[in-house]
């Protein structure tokens, strides 16, 4: 275990129960996920996957909002699940802050938005004197391209989505965190506003040395912003490594599938081959063997009954039998 890990996730699993009619099924929203984010070397760690792939559950566990069913989740070498309420508040929230998907839902529509900024500053005693708060807040807001004057006294719905999301990021920055967990921060934003937020993360990483876990289903922005990337499928991390490698030359059939599916504005690359989709939502979750086996173009017999191992291949980890050196198929 690297001693200087900022976040160390090891075999993390979250189990939910689905009740359907008179029966109930167990499924793993996150299944044996392992991720390490180094401290000292801030990065944007992108997590991509289709909806229902467990991204959000993973984020919630990292934020301490959900307790893991199994596995370890250490932040700065401390088990997050073991932190007391007081420690959560006095230490963990200082260190780790969230940015949510919908900036309008993230603030009470009945409250002025700057209230959350002041609350954060006061509660974490970020300034010695309360009179200092506006100055400090303004300073942080300027990092996201806003001024306090612009937002003071406004209600969330008086701001644009981009502005509100930037306020949300500023709020997260107020505690001077080391890690920001951003769950689909741009998916509710318009195309013209989207890049301003993504650019912000890049800037923060550089200027403020904050690591960001950037969760998205949008591969293009993940590629644009992410230093490393983890591709999730039905709770599994199927491929993880440096972004340019993973998306430049995907190994896992699913990642390949993803990559070719990005609509290109060069329409001559039209898609000709048909792709399979899951029919029933829960089918893939409860599948034994590889969860992608049902629609994998390179499926092998072994995939149907066995869970593929995570193997290191070309500088990243891949969860696929194709790259399992113990198998003859991999060598072909």
């Amino acid at each position: 275990m690297p001693a200087d890990a900022l976040l160390h996730i090891e075999d993390l699993t979250k189990v939910f129960h689905i009740r359907q009619g008179f029966s109930s099924q167990e499924f793993h929203a996150v299944d044996n996920a392992s991720i390490v984010i180094d401290s000292g070397k801030p990065e944007i760690f992108a997590v991509v996957g289709e909806s229902g792939s467990g991204k959000t559950t993973l984020a919630k566990m990292v934020l301490g909002m959900e307790a893991p069913s199994q596995g370890n989740l250490r932040y700065k070498d401390r088990q997050v699940a073991a932190l007391s309420k007081r420690e959560m508040k006095n230490w963990f929230y200082h260190e780790v802050q969230p940015v949510f998907q919908d900036p309008f839902a993230a603030f009470s529509p009945l409250k002025q938005i700057d209230r959350y900024l002041y609350e954060t500053v006061y509660n974490y005693k970020m300034v010695g004197d309360k009179k200092e708060a506006p100055r400090y807040i303004n300073e942080v807001l300027s990092e996201v391209g806003l001024t306090l004057a612009e937002i003071a006294g406004r209600y969330p719905n008086e701001l644009s989505g981009g502005q509100a999301q930037r306020v949300a990021i500023a709020r997260a920055l107020l505690t001077k965190p080391s890690l920001i967990v951003a769950d689909e921060p741009v998916s509710m934003l318009d195309a013209s506003l989207r890049m301003s937020v993504v650019n912000m993360f890049r800037k923060l990483k550089e200027d403020n040395a904050v690591s960001v876990i950037y969760i998205t289903h949008d591969l293009a922005t993940a590629f644009y912003a992410g230093d490393r990337i983890a591709v999730m499928l039905r709770g599994w991390i199927v491929e993880m490594g440096p972004t340019e490698q993973v998306l430049g030359n995907p190994l896992h059939p699913y990642t390949q599938n993803l990559k070719t599916s990005i609509p290109s504005i060069k329409s001559d690359e039209a898609w000709d081959e048909k792709i399979d989709l899951a029919v029933i939502e829960t089918d893939e979750y409860t599948r034994t063997g590889c969860k992608f086996a049902g629609r994998c173009p390179a499926v092998m017999d072994i995939c149907h009954d066995n869970i593929p191992p995570s193997v290191e291949h070309e500088g990243r980890s891949v969860k696929c039998f194709l790259y399992d050196e113990a198998l003859p198929a991999a060598r072909n």
């Binding site: 309008f104 993230a106 009470s108 529509p109 609350e119 509660n123 209600y155 719905n157 008086e158 644009s160």
Partner: protein, 317 residues
């Protein structure tokens, strides 16, 4: 608050109607304090005028025992509202407290509170009320009646508040508040209470309807302090003296109409308020910029529109 009321008065037909009624009721209550004689008192009307239909002098008529129905009615309305107010304060007070405590504590405390709530819910309220009224009979003053009705009318509301709290707890802004370092008390009072208040308002009105109904019902069964005036006891006595059949229907009609008018007044106001609090309507009022999207979506009635619009209310029931 004032602008809200002004807007409601100007644009909500039911609120306007309801307010006029309630204003009228309020005037009755105020005027009732200026009765020229104790309104319960009999033999205050000159003998020749007793049991006479409404006239210029006695605008709602008189009873055979020489009471002036007009002054009786005013006082009765006041007393009935007093009973209902006490009941509502107690019922909603317990309901809000238990519901919120239960929702926030969760776990074992929640389970214990919920089994108590469930147990209270399964006990039929009217028979219980009658039973206790019979037991307390001699000492059943209006205040006690109010307390009694209130004590039986908190279980359902408390469940609703609990559900509210549970859903509010899952809302994203709650997490924002937590990550902003706010304590539980602060979140409850400053972040969540504003969302509960609209429900409380609607609930207060339904509490009034229940309490007035119960007062009338119990009185009609003779289980109230029959010598004091309330709408229920007026109905009881009108019934006891067979006013309808003895050719003196005004004695019965006055309280019956008053009951209906008062409850309908409350109900209309509550319709107006809940319409005002309807997330979709609220959106149209609140938005200034940007949310044209929401408007557009809302006009189409899509769920995205509703979702954005409902920022501010949690659905329940």
């Amino acid at each position: 608050m004032l602008t809200t009321i002004r807007d409601l008065l100007r644009y909500s037909l039911s609120f306007r109607f309801g307010s006029v009624i309630l204003l009228f009721v309020a005037i009755m209550v105020v005027v009732s304090f200026f009765a020229p004689y104790p309104p319960e008192k009999r033999r205050v009307v000159p003998r020749k005028m007793r049991g006479e239909p409404p006239s210029a002098e006695y605008i709602l008529g008189t009873t055979t025992l020489g009471q002036d129905v007009f002054w009786m009615l005013l006082t009765a309305v006041r007393h009935t509202l007093l009973i209902a107010s006490i009941a509502v304060c107690i019922g909603r007070g317990i309901g809000v407290m238990l519901g919120m405590i239960s929702g926030y504590l969760g776990g074992g405390a929640d389970r214990v509170i919920q089994s108590v709530v469930e147990s209270v819910i399964v006990i039929p309220r009217l028979p219980l009320l009658i039973l206790i009224a019979v037991i307390l009979k001699g000492g059943l003053t209006f205040v006690w009646l109010g307390i009694l009705i209130g004590m039986l009318d908190w279980a359902y509301p408390s469940k609703r508040y609990r559900a509210q709290v549970l859903s509010l707890r899952e809302r994203e802004f709650t997490h924002t508040a937590i990550f902003s370092g706010m304590g539980t008390a602060k979140i409850v009072i400053q972040e969540h209470l504003p969302f509960i208040i609209p429900f409380l308002l609607a609930d207060v009105v339904s509490g009034f309807l229940f309490s007035i109904g119960m007062e009338v019902t119990l009185s009609w069964l003779g289980l109230n302090d029959l010598n004091s005036l309330s709408l229920g006891t007026m109905i009881y006595w009108a019934d006891e003296w067979n006013s309808i059949f003895a050719g003196k229907p005004w004695v019965m009609i006055a309280p019956v109409v008053a009951v209906i008018v008062v409850v309908v007044g409350f109900y209309l106001v509550s319709i107006g308020i809940s319409e005002y609090l309807d997330p979709r309507k609220r959106l149209l009022r609140l938005q200034t910029h940007q949310s044209d999207t929401a408007l557009e979506l809302q006009a189409q009635g899509t769920s995205a529109g509703t979702a954005i619009a409902s920022a501010g209310t949690a659905k329940d029931e």
